[in-house]
Symmetry: C7
Subunit: 287 residues, 7 copies
């Protein structure tokens, strides 16, 4: 007889399942409540610690409130999402849904996107440290890779640099590995000037040094020097003398331009030649 | 006796399986309905939130509706497919088909294709941010990598740049890491002009500055300057003076061309030489 | 007594195994039939949707039937193989063969080959998009990487480019990241011509412009210009004037050649010199 | 009492284990036989399909039997080893040896070697497609990467190229990504020849074209042209005219050499100068 | 009757769960206490060993306390966090929460961030070894990659280099693979000076060597030499003699400058020519 | 009463464990013996097959016994270690030690080292094929990457190349991707010689060809040619003729040197000029 | 009644747990003792084998004791740590702590650090082989990548090279892929000297060879030659003759310097000219 014996089934339904199910449900509820409490506790505590940390950081490192705000907000967001993810997964486990499928699915999608978005994460990590360690301030004159100019903004994802020709360069932070900041202290002005092999080096040095001293006296942007430091090169047509000065930041170019003019005029007045390229000719009749 | 005792089997068939099977089916159904309800709820909620977000974004950042539409549609698609994948996997689990095989199979194929299509995902992620942050507008004059020209379109996968010689460059977005936008503000016109070592620098500067002032008066595209900023170089045959101006965007080239003509003519009128390359000859008879 | 009690065994054989085995077989059969039905349903449905999609695509984007056919066939193949793989694995699972071994084996081989064949997959993915988005048509003059020439064929795996010297370049599609298509609109003809520093710029411009206008009148391949746009450079021996024109696609070179001849002759007729390199000599007796 | 009660043990030995063990063994045997049968069936079927495929391929694509043989043998080998690996693993599973250890061990070794041998697999995959698609024939003049010469052999792992200086280059197939085949059609002969700025362009063109026509009449290797196509460049000392011809494959160099001689002599006979570099001298007394 | 029989349930509640639960809890508590004790023990022991190690290291390698402190603090931090992570995971396991979900979640996030933050870890590892092995001291003149200058600080994440022009370079430690330290011993001063082909090499050598000896006597920064080591090159216009000296660190440039002046003057006094570029002229009348 | 009832325990000790333990041990022993037998069988068989294969290979490919020995020994070693690893893991599994820990540990260490030692494995794989396919013999003149010279030894890990200046280059085999062997056949001697534009090309060709024929008659190292193949270039000051010859391997340089001398002398004797660089001078008085 | 029945619990506590727990503990203890014994045995044996191996290696390969000591110590350390890791994991397993958590945790941290420290492992592996195969000895003159100089030390992590200018280069071993050792045998001295086109090649060769022979007689550092090997180049102004010699290691530069002086003087004495650059002038009056 293949007829199903429903009374047996109903008996079993009554006897077995519901008690332990209720208990399981009860335990589940307790677990969930425990989890949520733990979640709220950890989140509140974590946020308080983070707030405290960044307040300290701001006052200690003398950072602008805006910058500290950006860093705090990013840190709290990452912390919050990580916690939420763990909560969801744990709650689902309590209901015995096999979360491996969910995680595996999320993992595959995540990995696939991750490969592509790798650059994005790298941008944010690097950006975080640029903001944290104040390597770049808005208004600094910086060079990174092939781009040079005044920094217009530093963000989590990218840094904007205004080139001197007016172009706006968008540089993703991950590309800013090695970086040169030209706005962190005095700069050097350097001039190489050639005199004739026939002229006396000592006299030329004296003439140039006098012109340098006069320039230094008239220009408050010059901090140290300029000094003639000696013969830098025995060139093919001239003896090259090097002059070096310390100037205020961003004043190096105008100081160099001014010095070039003064030095050229000083040499001229003292009859010292800045020689054109020389060549010796040997004539030979065609055989 | 190896004859199978069918009565025993049928008895067992009747007694054991069907009750718990029915219950399992019932629980399964309930679970599936719950899952689908959850799916619909999450999807509806997610889509509403996304719509709201992009409406805000559009009004706040002053973005064209078309661009906002593209971003919204992409975000909703990704969200929808991820949700659907999770639903299917979870439903299959309810029926106790071991989904690991399915996921593993999908994983292997996915990984294999993923390696190859990595570039594609990377294109879309970068494209998303280019659209979101308005780094490039259609019509901008941009340089990225070795390509320069007017941007003709910005898509999720690639950006089209029309070179000045008429060539159409197709650049996948992932190649647009560092990017220079030449259409974001005034541009600089820069001219280096050489005068003779015999000419007086002060006089030449005066002549050039006068020509500059006249040019600035006649050309409304010049915003600031042009100014003679000083001696940029003591060249091998000439003293190089640098002139700099601020012009309207894209007017830098025509301003430079005009200035070159005016400055050359101004020097000529005042008898100041733009010198050809010089060389000193020393003759020597062959030994 | 170590003698095996066969009667006990046979009793157990009779009593226990066969009933549940039969049931398991029955359930297995039902499952397989269900799986195959599902497989056929999904495959048929999928293929119909794909066919429909590509028919729409072809009519909407104005694509040649051959190209649409290639794309449709590739998509259906990938879809079919993925489905088949899932079917086989799932059927094997029904018989309780542990498919992890099979999948792991396939996975290891797949990964090993995948590393090597990575380029192949990448070729096909890129090729798919080149066909889909019509970046290149057969007959276009394109440049990609270091190769330039007329495209002879676009395939899923590689693109063939016929260089202008007759060489046939085989470029795998994955190497076609950034690509320049020179056959998408009018091209620019550009000529830089140098005049003497002694000549009058205005007069030279007038002479050249007249020659340009005459050339434009006689050549229907010139669409816009040619125009003398100004002084491009103050060279070491000459003043460089730039002339620009818009021409029909692929006519830029012949227009440039023709213009060079006309402009040279126009300058000659008007006594304006195209100067050779200049140098100033200063003689000095050897000391 | 710690004395072991052997009678109890022996009783348990007799009663429990052997029956189900025998059954397990029986089922195991049946499974193995089934597996081997399936293995033989799949292998035979697979090999037959592969043989058929390559016979079709050979007749359809007009491939030499040797090349088709190489491809068929490679395909059958890979298919055979993959099948054997699956068989072994599955048979071991039947005996309940936990194959994960074996697979994990094989996997670790495989991955370690795989990283190193990645290049090898890549070579074979690329080699397979080079053979399949006939990109290179033995005797072709090809360029790949920095190597140029006549192809001496195409193998699964590497291609041998005989450079024109006699060197034998061994190029692993994976290095052959982009490849240029110079033996697939007619080649171009190209000559740039400079005439004086004082000479008449029209007359020079006429003289050169006549010499070209004479050369074409005498040389059957010239297929089209040679034609003087116009002024390619206004050089610093000469006006450069370009001559282009179509020649038989590999005849481009001898045609170019012949043309150079004829054109030089033609210009000479008609008193048209091929100018040496020019320079204008301006003398100036040293101040 | 579908009414649930609560009395049965309550009976089961009373009879079964609580005893073993209590035991489980007890065992759990014992385990946790054991774990925490083990954790404290291992942590204390580990920290003591680390402190001891770094005290030894500092005294033995003569390292500044600040540097040793940085290394010790980093090592203890990493050790502490690793231990804490293991404790948390193990404690959770005791309560039977399935930690795989937690670890998998952490793993996916970790991997995703890890890809992006890979550079960060690499920086710290390299920084650790730079500090440990004293490759760079603050104040050293170093060159790494394209950056050269005086090291201003060495940190765990980056090294700051002050370029000679005043720029501050930020170099992430991972970029410091190969590094050149110019402050580790005496340096070489090297001068190549050309004399005329007509002058006697032996006499010139004698004159130069005498000048060198005089310079060495007057300059205490010269440690060895300078010596004329012979004919370095038969140049196109001069015979090049090489002079080499050993100087104190960082004195090489001033010594070189001083030597250039002395040697030039010594040759002049002895009538030995430093020749300008030579060229032989062959005049030919135009045919 | 919390006192433990030992009699109950001892009773349970006696009754339950030992029987099944003994059986398990017995089965374990049988399994281990079976495994070791299988191991010995497979190893013996494998080694025999490998020996046979390499003996065949040696006689067929005409390889030196030393080289064949190296390959055989490497292959047997790898085979042996892989087998041993599998044996150990399987034996441990029989004793129910969970080998996953062991494998996981080995895997992590292996992976960590593997990343670092990746180059090592790659060296050996490439070295294996270089030995197998006789691409390089000791004494060959080869070029690989930036290194050129005579091969001194080919090993599994690296190849030693003696540069022509006496330097010994150590090149890891993995760096030998593309490789050029200059000792595999006759080499080409190539000389480009320039004659004056005023000289007759036909006569110069005749003179040069006669000198070539005389050289070929006197030098048995010349296998084919030398032949004057025509005008290679219309240079700025000379007409360049190209001469090509086939020589014995490694004789190309001495043949080229000899030919240069003979050809220069032949032209001299026949009054044909090898011209110096030419330049046309146009004098102009300074305005 | 929800009151817990403690007597039932206590009864169960007494009856069930402790017996099997004791047995489990006993078995555990036995297992641990066995494991530790196995550990000590394997470690002792392994260390003895390693010591023996390195003693053999040292005596056979003639390696300095210090170098052998470094290698032995590294090998024993790696072996020891690997063994310890396996011991700890296995002991923990005996106590049924689920070690997967521990391993997974260690794995994630390990992988994260491993990515960053990859370079470190690579350094040590390469360093091991450099020490083992004696590619570099302290005092050798080597070139690797862009660094050249005398090797000051070879370590496991990095190699220190003292550049000839006094700079100390720190090169991580992983950067030493291809390496050139200039201290492994005699070196070549090579001089190219140009004579006039008007001079007789045979006579010049005779004069130079005589000077060479005289130099060889006076300098014991010359091992073979120097010999004039012929006409290396027909230069634009001179006929270049090449002289080659074999010298003792590191003597190549002083021999070259000495030869340059002798050869120049020999040519001078015999009236053979070392020509300056030549140029032919064609004068033309300006039209």
């Amino acid at each position: 007889m293949m007829i199903v014996n429903f009374s047996v089934i109903s008996t079993r339904l009554i006897e077995y399942e519901w008690g332990s199910l209720l208990i399981a449900l009860g335990i589940g509820l307790v677990k969930i409540i425990g989890l949520i409490l733990a979640y709220l506790l950890v989140k509140g505590l974590g946020n308080r610690i983070l707030s405290q940390t960044f307040t300290n950081y701001q006052s200690k490192k003398n950072v602008s409130p805006g910058r500290a705000k950006t860093l705090e907000s990013l840190t709290k967001n990452v912390f919050g999402y990580a916690l939420l993810f763990i909560l969801i997964v744990t709650v689902l486990q309590v209901f015995n849904y096999d979360v491996t499928a969910l995680i595996a699915g999320a993992g595959i999608i995540g990995l696939a996107v991750g490969f592509g978005a790798q650059g994005l994460v790298s941008d944010v990590v690097t950006g975080f440290f640029i903001l944290l360690e104040k390597q770049i301030d808005v208004g600094d004159y910086i060079t990174t890779g092939e781009f040079s100019g005044i920094c217009e903004s530093v963000g989590l994802r990218q840094t904007k640099i205004r080139g001197f020709d007016g172009t706006l360069h968008f540089v993703p932070n991950r590309e800013i590995t090695s970086m040169s900041n030209h706005s962190r202290g005095n700069m050097r002005a350097l001039i190489d000037i050639g005199i004739s092999y026939d002229d006396d080096i000592d006299q030329a040095t004296k003439v140039l040094q006098e012109a340098c001293d006069k320039a230094a006296a008239n220009n408050h942007q010059i901090i140290d020097g300029p000094n003639v430091i000696g013969v830098q090169q025995l060139g093919s047509s001239d003896v090259v003398l090097r002059i070096i000065a310390q100037t205020e930041n961003m004043a190096q170019w105008s100081v160099e331009r001014e010095l070039r003019k003064s030095l050229k005029e000083a040499l001229e007045e003292n009859g010292i030649e800045i020689p054109f390229p020389h060549q010796v000719y040997l004539e030979k009749k065609e055989a």
